[in-house]
Amino acid sequence: MREILKILERDARASTEQIATLTDLSEAEVRRQIREWEECGIIRRYKTVVDWEKYGEEKVFAFIDVNVTPERGVGFDDVAERIYRFPEVHSVHLVSGTQDLRCVVEGRTMKEVADFVAQKLATIDRVTSTSTHFLLKKYKDDGEIFADGEGDHRLMVTP
């Protein structure tokens, strides 16, 4: 059954029929299993990995490290929530080390991202400092390599 998730993780558009063939399960079985996972949130959603830069759309991303004074009872959760509710925030993680929260923020320009940090992030209560690192080039994201493949070096026909 895990096999189904591996297939969908690589190709969200794989049809029930295809998955059934690839896994040797019946179509009904695959359909039922997927529905069950969708309902209980194991499958959260189906998404497409887009190379926006190749499409011609310039986007600016920044990694923002945030230091927060934790609060008794909630720790960092309430601040994290205040941050992740903004749609321009792509991800928020609580991390070990000198910083507390590590976020990825998207904007159309550097100024837009900088403004967001100055106006929205840094001003949140208990945020003591931020440090912004603009993304210069994306090599690999979420397991996906953003470069041309290595090519097939095999001969046409071999024993």
Partner: protein
């Protein structure tokens, strides 16, 4: 005439007149080769003719190779190969199959299974000894037997029962000159695997008639249905068996040329002797990369196997749907469908399919006469390409429709 040499006046040509080795000169080139020359010059070809993984060697293994090169591991190793690699191989075989081989005296690192096979045959055979070879088989088996001075005796296997090797047929092929049986399981080109029970019966036969067993297990990890049996672990087999294996298929390391053999000490000693004088040792870099493969590439291997298995199911189902009847191959990464419905010979089929639809497959007769009526298709190819290949093959087959009808009638009769 510049030379006073009398030979020059006796012969119209200037080249040597003594014949070259007659065994080698009379051995035809591989049927795959001619085909390769045509396919290589065409564009937009989907090749299902490739006998190797479409994966590149996992990065961690390549990285280990680079590291070894940077550190200057560019020397010979001991003839037998790095002991640390042999230790890992024997531990690996023990853990996977319960095999019991001593890394010091019963394991030899070879330049791929190809060299291991040559060594085993050279050491086992005296001139004129017979080697039973189930057919269809890997293209190198028959020539290798001949080059080692032996006489190959083929035993036919058929698609109807998944290319099972029938012990009775082997028995019928045994003569006083029978010296060995050479078996590949899982097999290239059929993808067939032999059951433990059949193998055990084979071992009994080998004991009774006193012949050796040479077991090519290069596709062992690519077994999708049932469990692979390492021949050397069967009761009674160990003392007369040479197990050949390597890193090419499971770890996608074909170009590194590193393999190994395991056999009881008297055999290993002699095989090491030949290896010592002809090959010296396998590539040092490749041996270090192989250590990394055994140590840390298991996750990648499991992923690759799962992926081949998915494609196998997809492709075999697709072949049957378009009318190329195909039994279920249980190992390796080949499907060996029947092309009976096309009404063509395997060579005609492969050649026309390549010319008309630009899909390269290998004609079955390249693997011996009993491969006729089939073509070998490798599914070590990306899924979308397999899909496209099936479409093209289906179209091609429909064009052969008149022939298909004729055959359908013939079959009903």
């Amino acid at each position: 005439m510049t030379s006073p040499d009398t030979r020059a006046t006796e012969s119209p040509g200037r080249g040597p007149r003594k014949p070259l080795n007659t065994v080698i000169a009379s051995c035809p080139p591989s049927g795959i080769r001619r085909f390769f020359d045509i396919a290589q010059q065409m564009e937009n070809v989907i090749s299902l003719g490739v006998g190797e993984p479409d994966y590149v060697t996992p990065w961690r293994i390549r990285e280990a190779g680079i590291w070894a090169l940077e550190r200057g591991y560019t020397t010979y190793t001991s003839n037998s190969g790095l002991l640390s690699l042999r230790e890992r191989i024997c531990a690996h075989l023990r853990q996977r199959y319960g095999a019991d081989y001593d890394p010091v005296s019963e394991c030899l690192i070879t330049v791929g299974v190809s060299e291991g096979l040559d060594l085993a045959l050279r050491v086992v055979l005296n001139p004129g000894d017979e080697v039973i070879v189930p057919e269809p088989c890997y293209v190198s088996y028959m020539p290798n037997v001949q080059f080692a001075g032996g006489v190959p005796v083929s035993v036919k296997t058929d698609a109807q029962d998944g290319f099972r090797l029938h012990v009775e047929r082997v028995k019928a092929a045994i003569t006083p000159r029978t010296k060995a049986l050479l078996l590949g399981s899982p097999a290239n080109p059929t993808g067939a695997t032999q059951t433990r029970a059949d193998l055990q019966a084979l071992v009994a036969l080998a004991e009774k008639h006193d012949f050796y067993l040479i077991s090519d297990e290069i596709y062992d990890r690519l077994t999708y249905v049932g469990e692979h049996t390492c021949l050397g672990t069967l009761p009674g087999a160990r003392e007369r068996t040479v197990v050949l294996n390597g890193f090419s298929k499971a770890y996608a390391m074909t170009g590194w040329r590193v393999g190994y053999l395991c056999a009881p000490e008297p055999l290993t000693t002699l095989m090491t002797r030949v290896h010592q004088y002809t090959m010296l040792c396998a590539s040092h870099l490749a041996q270090l990369a192989a250590i990394e493969a055994l140590d840390s590439a298991e996750n990648e291997v499991v992923e690759m196997i799962a992926d081949y298995d998915r494609r196998r199911r997809f492709f075999v189902k697709g072949l049957n749907q378009i009318g190329l009847d195909c039994y279920e191959p249980k190992g390796a990464f080949y499907a060996f469908p029947s092309i009976r419905r096309s009404g063509l010979s395997s060579e005609e089929f492969a050649e026309r399919l390549l010319m008309e639809e630009r899909v390269a497959v290998v004609p079955g007769n390249a693997f011996g006469p009993s491969g006729e009526g089939h073509v070998r298709c490798s599914y070590a190819t990306a899924l979308p390409l397999l899909e496209e290949a099936l479409e093209r093959m289906g179209r091609f087959l429909r064009r052969c429709a008149p022939a298909q009808k004729r055959h359908a009638v013939a079959v009903e009769d």
